[in-house]
Symmetry: C3
Subunit: 474 residues, 3 copies
Amino acid sequence: MVSPARALSRHFTLAHADRLFPVDLPTRTIARRLYDAVRDLPLVSPLSFVPARLLAQNAPLPGPHHLFVQSDPEIVGTLVRHGVALEEIGIKRREGDRVETDAREIWHRFAENYRLFRGTPVRLRLDYIFSVLFGINEHLTPKNADAVYDRIGHSLTTAAFLPRNLVEQCKIEAIGTFAGPLDDLSHHDALRKSGWRRRVAPIYCPDELTDPDHEHFLANLRRLGEKASCNTRSWPDYLDAHRQMRALFKSLGGTATFHAPRNLRTASLPQADAERLYLKVVTAQAKPSEIDLFRGQMLTEMARMSLDDGLTVQIWPGQLRRGVLNRDTGVPDAGGGSADHLRGLLPLLQKFGREPKLTLVAFLLDESQGSYDLNQAAIEFPALRLAPAARLAASPRGLHRFRELTAEWGGFYNSVGTAIDQDLLSIPARHDMTRRIDCAYLAELVITHQLDEKDAHEVAQELAYGLVKRAYRL
Amino acid sequence: MVSPARALSRHFTLAHADRLFPVDLPTRTIARRLYDAVRDLPLVSPLSFVPARLLAQNAPLPGPHHLFVQSDPEIVGTLVRHGVALEEIGIKRREGDRVETDAREIWHRFAENYRLFRGTPVRLRLDYIFSVLFGINEHLTPKNADAVYDRIGHSLTTAAFLPRNLVEQCKIEAIGTFAGPLDDLSHHDALRKSGWRRRVAPIYCPDELTDPDHEHFLANLRRLGEKASCNTRSWPDYLDAHRQMRALFKSLGGTATFHAPRNLRTASLPQADAERLYLKVVTAQAKPSEIDLFRGQMLTEMARMSLDDGLTVQIWPGQLRRGVLNRDTGVPDAGGGSADHLRGLLPLLQKFGREPKLTLVAFLLDESQGSYDLNQAAIEFPALRLAPAARLAASPRGLHRFRELTAEWGGFYNSVGTAIDQDLLSIPARHDMTRRIDCAYLAELVITHQLDEKDAHEVAQELAYGLVKRAYRL
Amino acid sequence: MVSPARALSRHFTLAHADRLFPVDLPTRTIARRLYDAVRDLPLVSPLSFVPARLLAQNAPLPGPHHLFVQSDPEIVGTLVRHGVALEEIGIKRREGDRVETDAREIWHRFAENYRLFRGTPVRLRLDYIFSVLFGINEHLTPKNADAVYDRIGHSLTTAAFLPRNLVEQCKIEAIGTFAGPLDDLSHHDALRKSGWRRRVAPIYCPDELTDPDHEHFLANLRRLGEKASCNTRSWPDYLDAHRQMRALFKSLGGTATFHAPRNLRTASLPQADAERLYLKVVTAQAKPSEIDLFRGQMLTEMARMSLDDGLTVQIWPGQLRRGVLNRDTGVPDAGGGSADHLRGLLPLLQKFGREPKLTLVAFLLDESQGSYDLNQAAIEFPALRLAPAARLAASPRGLHRFRELTAEWGGFYNSVGTAIDQDLLSIPARHDMTRRIDCAYLAELVITHQLDEKDAHEVAQELAYGLVKRAYRL
């Protein structure tokens, strides 16, 4: 086997210093200056799938075949779509299946199909990670697959790649991680007690307790009652149990909630009606339209609690793809949901949208539906911040369109560049892309004489750091 | 206090000669040539909130704090969203409120928050007005706020800034202004008799008489009856009253109607059915669906009248933000409405869309919904012209997308660059932006060899002047 | 009359070597290199209105006035919209109408209005055809109209312009042509027997037999029964008749089906329910919702048959504009339909979307609605390929947006650059445009360091030829 250093030494191509910048040289030069001033700002990732356990235990990351293939649903999905069997990459569908267990073989399947990612956000992310974090400067091919595997595999065994060291070296200042009210928060507790300076914030995700269509809804309510020592079949007690759990999350560093309702509908019922509705829900007497109404009411209740405890409310239209593989097919679920019902936010906004204490982050699913309505709402309701969801957040052009769509309405200061980070290594990759695109966008405003470069520098700082920091109080 | 001239003399930056042009130099050079040939064409603003009274009385404009802060709902809205209280900028919510009355203090609040407008259409507009009209060449800051205030304030007291002089110096050839059938048109009458050469055209806006959900609908019908000396509870008389009022508007220079229905629905009922429906409406027996149907029928009736009197019909999807502050909150209303129902135009179009005498301007609310359907309709129905509404009209990229979305279907000659001008000073600012963007778009076609520069010059003239002139017979 | 050669000799402007390439010179240089490597690849047009008869008979094409005016619904539509009467261009509305019969006069009406096509896809197409195929290098004007007419008219009488020679000289390797199951396929048969090497594939378009709202639906079923010698009022026999007809199409070179349902809805009923539904349909007892359901079920049945016979399934959302003139108005029909219901594909996709034997091409109607859902589906269901419909396929910016919208989700390999070719001469024009835009898109990825130029070359080959070739097995 060739030594990794040897095989990979040719020239630096994967993550060019000018990538994603405007093609016109004078514009590119401005973008470079703007980017150079923000590239080293700390990273704030308020929304991630990084498990608290990873940081609490601080054990080495798994091998390359797991990190970049098996555990990444987009990569698995692409491979499967183009004819690779799950067994070939070591994923079992059913107990008893015989699957590939040789890590290197799995890695070779990946390398053979690496062309499929050309022009995709996945490739951009991997280019950054391979090049900047692991010092690899060649595209993955069947030929260099072993060398790349060795280089990454070796790096992962070093102290520098232990999770907490990665966080520190990448200047990650704070990470929000999804958690349910019923989840075990002992890792958060351990982190808190460990004295580690970085902030790891559990995000309060109560969908399993606010969506009567959840498969274990009633059982979940019982478990909530046990945790909160109250009778959650009573509406006041149920609300109080949420308040207790939110307080617990907050005491562990939490600053935000997250909701991914099936339909983006909100409601603002009088409390007596809400209570009657709840009683129907917990006795399984609610009709589908009432269940829908209840979900909508709970979004408003969550916002009401935020007026007291200050947690930032995040609403994601359509159910979130949880980043897990479909149990039957092994490939990621299509996310359902759409932005059809963004105007469904209005009841909540009319109730609390002008409360100075509330920050409500709504995610724009794509650039088509609802952008008119949401932008209008963002103009009217000071509480509202717009963030890019899904494709808008993941892709360079999507992000550019997000800026176009929001800045030309209400300017930069109503937005917040939040997006979901899938794993630890993705955090610096995603922030780097976002900062580059934002600087490219600002450089275009400068070169077309819509903004002074001095002002653009101030805006770039806000987009890269200030806005998200303030919106999440992280 | 420093002299304004001194404080503002540094260098010219606010409205650069090349602003909004393509970044690529050869393309920019073509855009410059195209723009230079249209920049001094007269301005036609068929749709504005400029009150006829302003031009009839020709009194000086109010001070800077009122002109650029208090009277601009977008600016007020942005300030409020970011924590400025209405009281601080001198706006009363309720009688008895104590509010700031010092004009300079109000102006300082504006200056302190001026950064919020970075990257927005508001800033582009102000850059133009401050720089080109008032000779100010620095961004507004707390430091130069007094000097800027003095410069503008002083200018506004000079003869050059009297409304009619502004109209003449800005080469505004014609202005359409919103008016209701029940409004006092004496200022239009006075203008007509004054012998002032510029055309000021009242736009016939009958929503208060065609929307049964209007809060004073029945009272309005009575008032219409009094004005037109007929019994407006009779369908033929009601229609005739409209005809009379339209004739009155026309005699005062009017050339167009304007409709902003709640839902974009049209209907084409037999007259007997329409009459029966009207009788239900005026006796308050109509169900919501019938009220909706009636609104739709009235759009078609208005188009039918246009076959006789030649008024151009304008339809804006979704209720118009009237540019006024919400009575409860002091900030602008979110405009309701959406483009969902653009296909609602079909009944009207199928009835009259091929009439050579009709011009029907439909506004595209944004680039997402309905553009496919509306473009298809514009291909099929010669009467239809597409215009950019809301964000598409106000922002550089929005306008660029409007051109993309319409030109690539039916070419340039089905469109009309109409947009609402909020006030007198906005008219030259908006036209300058539109002309720059159109020339930038054409320059891109030239440099990519899709259009000869000679042809591009002809198209630029049409977009800047010819198409709107003809569509509105102004 | 001046000699055509003389009148047209000035300089080459119509189809510039760099047209549609990026404006930035370094990017343009990369685009040129990519394009030069794919420009001469064979053309595959899987979806066209080219009649098999044209190629079987191989008679000369009709004169310029017919080819470029009368038979092109977009051109007729534009002329009519801008005031040209159908009679003036020789089109009869009713028997007995007196219409212009002088071909040259008709051509002059076209020349006088040629400016209307500025900035449209029609002009791009004509620029290519006039310049590259007929050697004309001036825009059509009233002045050169006769010379251009002569040049084209003369060319059309030469052997080089006989249909089969055109196919060969333009390197058209395969053409799919629309055909119904009840259509006469003798021309396909003749072509098959003639020994001509080029593939002409009839596309199985059964809407007239699967849509109970079709005006002759029941009669069509009877005719199908006669052709297939079975009782098509029985569900198994009806399905079997489809199978027979598909086999016939396949034996004549067919590789695909095509469906343009009124609503994009699919269904996946148990066979017993499907049978009961069919019995209602054929006895005219089905309610509208059941008719809709039946149409949806038939899409799934067609996909099921494709698992056996391998025909690629094509679904176009919304009824297709058949390229014919409306019988009453003489202008093309607005296509109805919209992309609202793209999620209607889900039942079919959940049933067969992961079958490795199935290829299902879904057309994106525009960039707004449904792109989120369809892209998600394309990620989940390996059978699905996305293609640009309507405006996206016809216009340079539309195609560019199609690439943006699809590549940033699933990369290039889920797409297929299929589009409808209206006639023989349009095939090379449309392919040239598509290849230029794809190379321009790739060049932007290269210059922004998202893709190596070497990789871009491979992708360009796939987009220009490989993907469509494989998706249609042509």
